[in-house]
């Protein structure tokens, strides 16, 4: 049912990847993505792919889950690959009707596909191994220099945390209300678009009522605990860099150097 849509899709675990500081992971991901676009040639791509494979193995996340995360982008991957194949000028391999496939096109198409696949796989690895709350924390930290420019970074992070926190709750609630209305004979599956939209009213009204009730309760609870924004606020779980993060930083630098060096090797 609705619950099977995993948003934020965090899978708790104890692996090295889970234990890394979320800031390290976030920065490393950004570096990795940049390097994916810097990489040229088979050798550097191989290095990127090997890195992705090693990271996935280290995270102990089932490869099946990584494949599942690729499902939504498969259309984009195929589309990009085909376009590249058809529209890259160069040495002709086959041609039919108005299309011609060139060797360069095949080469480009394959690389584009590999690039997108690795991008999505490694990004989802981050969300699989980092709880959404830790991730927002990391974003808040990394963006905190903007506070000097009077950007309300803390408030944005708090809003994001609350939103993330309540997504599963609201999904569960929607599920419950839908079941309850189905038990009263509501039918969400048949009829034309208008009928289906109307069928949602018995779900949406109680859902909004309860969302507002929850928001109200949460606001009162926060006020009772004297919440007044980010100023002078300390944290329960302070983010700390460990030796693990230092090791990760070294590996990231090695990786960057590796890609840059391999880019010069022509294969």
């Amino acid at each position: 049912m609705l619950k099977d849509i995993t948003l934020g899709q965090y899978f708790p675990g104890e692996s090295v990847m889970h234990r890394l500081d979320p800031r390290t992971k976030l920065v490393a991901l950004i570096v990795y993505v940049v390097m994916l676009f810097v990489a040229k040639g088979t050798a550097s791509y191989l290095l990127c792919a090997v890195c992705a494979a090693v990271l996935i193995a280290m995270s102990r996340v089932a490869p099946r889950l990584i494949l599942k995360s690729l499902k939504p982008v498969i259309v984009i991957v195929i589309f990009t690959a085909v376009l590249n194949m058809l529209y890259t000028p160069g040495r002709e391999l086959v041609s039919f009707w108005i299309f011609k496939i060139t060797a360069e096109g095949v080469y480009n198409g394959v690389f584009m596909a590999v690039r997108i696949i690795m991008l999505v796989a490694v990004t989802s690895l981050l969300t699989y191994t980092t709880s959404p709350i830790a991730l927002t924390d990391a974003i808040e930290h990394l963006l905190s220099p903007l506070k000097k420019l009077k950007v309300p970074v803390h408030e944005f992070a708090m809003m994001m945390t609350i939103a993330l926190r309540f997504i599963p709750t609201l999904i569960e609630e929607t599920d419950k209300i839908m079941s309850a209305q189905k038990a009263r004979g509501a039918d969400f599956e048949s009829g034309n678009l208008l009928r289906r939209a109307k069928a949602l009213i018995p779900v949406l009204v109680p859902l909004f009522v309860s969302a507002f009730r929850r928001a109200d309760e949460l606001a009162v609870a926060m006020e009772c605990r004297l919440y007044h924004g980010g100023e002078g606020r300390t944290r329960l779980n302070v983010l700390r860099f460990s030796r693990l993060d230092a090791a990760a930083a070294v590996l990231v630098i090695c990786f960057v150097a590796g890609v840059v060096l391999l880019n010069r090797v022509s294969l």
Binding site: K3, K182, G185, A186, D187, P206
Partner: protein, 285 residues
């Protein structure tokens, strides 16, 4: 009496195939006779809510079957829909599902979905409102203006108005004060007497179960641990306590009496029963 609801070797697995896989119901078989009133009891997480959502086809069994009047409810789309109307399911905290502008319209939602004509809907709404103790003038109010207890009555009336053959209630008395609990108890009894409905209700309170039901079904870890009349079930009082469940206070008194050497049985669960037993015991001496 024939069996109206039969559950055959039913299992339910949530989130099958993910790391969150959870077998919530494990090989449950039950048959419920027409007109019976049964209580489903068990610890938090023992699979009660999951089990009852199979009775009207809201959940599909991972294994096993559910039969209503001898027919498998998942035979086709139509049988599922028929099951929705044959089995009225009242969820826990049903007051959060009200949505219409007026109480009247909200109660009429279920019967309306059944495709009844407006005269019949009107009759059912008024009758079930009356059974659930909702005054005439409340019918035109918005359900959001009512108190929690009143909303609960409206939600109950909403299911009563569908006149199901089997009424299934998930903790109908949760979160109410003693007077409110007593009321809900009375409405269900009254509705059952008028329509001869079969009633299955989930509860955490052994007292309520013992008082109301003629049959107790005790669940533990997704399967049925004990199933029988209250006397049969409370005869296993020690087992119930060992698995973390409560027994009625009078049963506890009798367990203690037996420990002290009195020749009594622990299959006692109401105060009048207890009084009679004690008097008999004294008379014998």
């Amino acid at each position: 009496m024939e069996n109206i609801l039969v559950v055959e070797n039913l299992s339910h697995i949530y989130s099958a195939g993910t790391p969150f896989e959870k077998k919530a119901v494990d090989g449950v078989s039950l048959s419920v006779r027409r007109g019976e009133i049964a209580a489903l009891i068990g610890h938090t997480g023992s699979g009660k809510s999951t089990l009852i959502q199979h009775f009207n086809g809201l959940l599909r069994p991972s294994e096993g079957r559910v039969l209503i009047n001898g027919e498998d409810i998942f035979e086709s789309k139509d049988t599922v829909r028929a099951a929705r109307f044959a089995v009225g399911l009242v969820f826990q905290y049903p007051e959060y599902q009200l949505f219409e502008e007026t109480v009247y319209k909200d109660i009429a939602f279920g019967p309306g979905n059944m495709g009844l004509d407006s005269a019949e809907i009107d009759r059912r709404v008024r009758e079930s409102a009356q059974i659930a103790g909702i005054a005439e003038d409340v019918l035109e109010k918005s359900p959001f203006e009512l108190s929690g207890g009143q909303k609960r009555r409206v939600a109950l009336a909403g299911i009563f108005a569908m006149e199901p053959e089997v009424l299934v209630l998930d903790e109908p008395m949760a979160g109410l004060d003693p007077a409110g609990r007593e009321d809900v108890f009375r409405f269900i009894k009254e509705y059952k007497e008028r329509h001869g409905t079969t009633v299955i209700f989930v509860t955490h309170s052994m007292e309520d179960a013992a008082r109301m039901a003629e049959r107790l079904i005790v669940m533990r870890g997704g399967s049925v641990m004990l199933d029988g009349t209250p006397a049969e079930v409370f005869a296993h009082a020690e087992e119930l306590i060992a698995s973390g469940l409560d027994v009625p206070q009078v049963t506890r008194v009798f367990m203690r009496l037996r420990e002290l050497g009195a020749p009594v049985d622990t299959a006692v669960y109401t105060v009048p029963q207890a009084a009679e037993l004690l008097l008999r015991l004294k008379g014998v001496r």
